[in-house]
């Protein structure tokens, strides 16, 4: 109801204009022939391209050429409806619109490629720098490992040197049984098997050595000179050797790493005819076995 009321006052002039236009169209319809399909199609193609900023901005020259062809087609058609050149110019216009579209696409793609190549470069730099970071971390790790290996090698060399020094300090002599330390009779009072107070000091070196070289086992062997009975001397040498072993055990050396034997006067290292010779014969020898050799097995030899 309301709609009809609002439309009717305005519809009158519009209607009359439309009617007039229709009449005019009917009047001129015969005089104005419809443009050929080729021209209509070219006009539409041009109109669409010219209205597309992508084309009009990126391929203005070719688009202008297309327009000239189109103008020529229209002018030719206006002059002579039957001129075959209308189709020809329309054809050229159509092709140039297509060229303009391809050029525009190329231009836009080239711009995009330029933008992307910057992004690609940035990404490439990022990728490389990450690779560099990783390489740096890996190099650092390799360097640390190498340093540790070197430190280990150095400490081993150091240990070997220290061992040599310790053995030298113990005045150990190399024999085919191992390193032999000879502890003189100054460790004991005459005919007694208890260690003197001062003797303990020199045994500490041996204790230290054995603590630091846990793979070494020792034979403790007692010897006497020929003064006194053989039985007594055998017993005395055994007890003295035991006293030395006792000291080692008291100081934390596993007794399993030690073996003890008294030889009495059986293995003199010097003459028993002189005081000096007898003094050399009264001794306790500690044999430091080579690594891997067992004291319990070696003591019988």
């Amino acid at each position: 109801m309301r709609g009809e009321g609002t439309v009717s006052p305005h519809s009158h002039p519009i209607r009359s204009i439309l009617a007039l236009a229709a009449a005019a169209a009917a009047l001129f319809a015969c005089a104005t022939p419809v443009p050929p399909e080729s021209l209509v199609s070219a006009e539409q193609a041009y109109g669409a391209a010219a209205g597309d900023p992508l084309v009009s901005e990126n391929a203005p020259v070719v688009l202008y050429e297309a327009k000239q062809d189109l103008d020529r087609a229209q002018a030719t058609w206006s002059a002579d409806r039957d001129d075959p050149r209308v189709d020809h110019y329309a054809y050229l216009a159509h092709k140039r619109v297509e060229i303009a579209r391809e050029l525009a696409t190329t231009r836009v793609s080239d711009d995009e490629a330029r933008e992307l190549s910057h992004e690609r470069d940035r990404t490439l730099i990022e990728a490389r720098s990450r690779q560099v970071d990783i390489a740096r971390v890996e190099a650092e790790q390799a360097r640390k490992r190498e340093e540790e290996a070197r430190a280990l090698a150095a400490s081993e060399t150091e240990r070997a040197a220290a061992l040599e020094k310790q053995l030298a300090d113990l005045e150990a002599k190399k024999t085919d049984r191992g390193m032999v330390i000879t502890l003189g009779d100054v460790l004991f009072d005459f005919n007694r098997a208890e260690l003197r107070g001062g003797a303990q000091q020199s045994l500490y070196r041996l204790v230290t050595f054995l603590r630091e070289n846990v793979d070494r086992e020792v034979l403790v062997e007692g010897h006497t000179d020929s003064v006194g009975s053989e039985t007594f001397n055998l017993d005395l040498s055994q007890r003295r050797a035991e006293a030395v072993r006792g000291f080692l055990v008291q100081n934390g050396i596993d007794s399993a790493r030690t073996a003890v034997r008294g030889f009495g006067e059986a293995r003199p290292v010097s003459t028993n005819a002189t005081d000096a010779g007898r003094q050399q014969n009264r001794r306790v020898e500690v044999v430091i076995l080579d690594p891997g050799k067992k004291a319990a097995q070696e003591i019988g030899r």
Binding site: H88, K95, E102, T123, L124, D133
Partner: protein, 125 residues
Amino acid sequence: MNRTRFRGVPLVLLTPLAFACATVTPPTDTINAADRAIVEATQADAEPHARLEMHLAREHVEKARVAVKEERYAEARELAEKALVEAELAEAKANSVRAQRNVREIRDYIATLQREIERESGRSR
């Protein structure tokens, strides 16, 4: 184009010639331009991207030459003009395809790099 040749000629004589302008001289320049455009398109590797256009361009330009021989200059000109736009379109299509492929390739490369970065950042952590 050829109007300079008629400079100084009385207007009365020129008027009928103006209409016949296209027909009286062989379209040598246009045929040459079409030939050049075909060469350029071929160099731009247009053949695989625009077979029809290349074929039409060659066909039109050959027909244009025949028409020139037979002194059908107006037809020759139209054929040469057609050949020219076909060749230009062929080259434009080839360039466009190439440019779009270039964009795709760069995109793919960036994507590859980004995957690499993600993988490596996972490795370094």
